[in-house]
């Protein structure tokens, strides 16, 4: 029986994505690495894809969060749309660190 997993973050928490570049399969896209966003919701607890990709059982399961980022903070001058535009990414807990509180650009 696997242990209950306590989710570390909740809605509204500011989180920073780790900048690691492991050679193994991982599902954190490059464009959010090192970026800071806001947790929207805990999606649930899911098997770890970094284990499953290599035939592992994916345990222990891990909290997965929907994290919101301002497009202008991701792409900076590369984003041509309004500053209110956002991008949401589903990120596993081990890829997140607490960040200082940030304000939304349009607040």
């Amino acid at each position: 029986m696997e242990a209950t997993t306590q989710a570390r973050y909740g809605p509204g928490d500011a989180v920073k994505v780790r900048s690691d570049t492991p050679q193994r399969h991982h599902r954190t896209p490059w464009y959010i690495k090192g970026k800071t966003g806001r947790v929207v919701v805990l999606c649930g607890v899911f098997p770890n894809p970094e284990s499953r990709a290599y035939g592992g059982d994916g345990l222990p399961r891990q909290p997965l969060y929907r994290v919101e980022f301002d497009q202008t903070s991701i792409w900076e001058d590369g984003y041509k749309g309004p500053s209110a535009d956002t991008i949401l990414v589903d990120v596993y807990e081990e890829w997140l660190e607490p960040a200082c509180r940030i304000l939304r650009r349009n607040q």
Partner: protein, 219 residues
């Protein structure tokens, strides 16, 4: 099928999957996938009949299924709330079981907010409700451009989004599949659920376009 300058290629919008037709030239990737499949079957890891069964099950789903779910949410506020809080249960109540282990979530479009779904890592897609994804959705062009220039991509699909509307891209990187719940078009008061479902296109449930307006649907 995908080209470097745009994403939307109407001539190849629904090209068949490799393996389901023998008279098209397969890409190197498709040939490799088929070779691996053949090897896995030869070695007894996969059962040939099971592969066919899964392909058949996935191919049997179509955007008409998702359209029914959307139309139900438009006419019934309780169904809409259920869809937004527990999409798996909501679609199960309409007779749709999810064909994979992943969860389903619905993203509601409003006057101020428009969602666009992509999978930059591969091509995750709510196939249980929409059927197989279109080739353009799986293309490098869409997967790379949707995250950095979503408004340009939507423009190519004919949707010009006002600057006052927040465009929110959803990159489905993990175990959730996302379905956009588009805004109900104006001028549809009094339409039946069946008539409303005809307005809901596959592309509006991905978020690259909006649903059709009632004037565009012939009786």
């Amino acid at each position: 099928m995908s080209d470097d300058h745009g994403v939307h290629d109407p001539d190849h919008a629904d090209a068949p999957h490799p393996g389901t037709q023998n008279d098209i030239e397969l890409s190197d990737r498709a040939k490799r996938a088929l070779a691996i499949q053949k090897l896995l079957i030869e070695k007894g890891v996969l059962d040939k009949d099971e592969v066919q069964r899964v392909v058949h099950t996935m191919s049997a789903r179509s955007p008409a299924d998702g359209a029914k779910v959307v139309a139900r949410a438009w006419v019934d506020p309780e169904s809409k709330q259920r869809l937004l809080t527990d999409a798996r249960a909501a679609v199960a109540e309409m007779g749709y079981t999810l064909t994979h282990d992943a969860e389903l979530a619905a993203l509601e479009n409003t006057e101020e907010l428009h969602h666009l779904v992509v999978c930059t890592l591969c091509s995750c897609y709510p196939g249980s409700l929409l059927g197989p994804p279109p080739d353009w959705y799986k293309s490098f062009a869409y997967r790379s451009r949707a995250v950095v220039e979503p408004r340009s991509v939507m423009r190519e699909f004919g949707l010009e989004q006002d600057e006052s509307v927040e465009v929110r891209v959803m990159d489905s990187t993990a175990d959730l599949r996302y379905l956009v719940l588009p805004e109900r078009p104006p001028g549809t008061e009094g339409m039946s659920e069946e008539e409303l479902a005809k307005l809901v296109t596959r592309d509006s449930m991905i978020g690259v376009t909006n649903p059709r307006s009632p004037q565009t649907v012939t009786a």
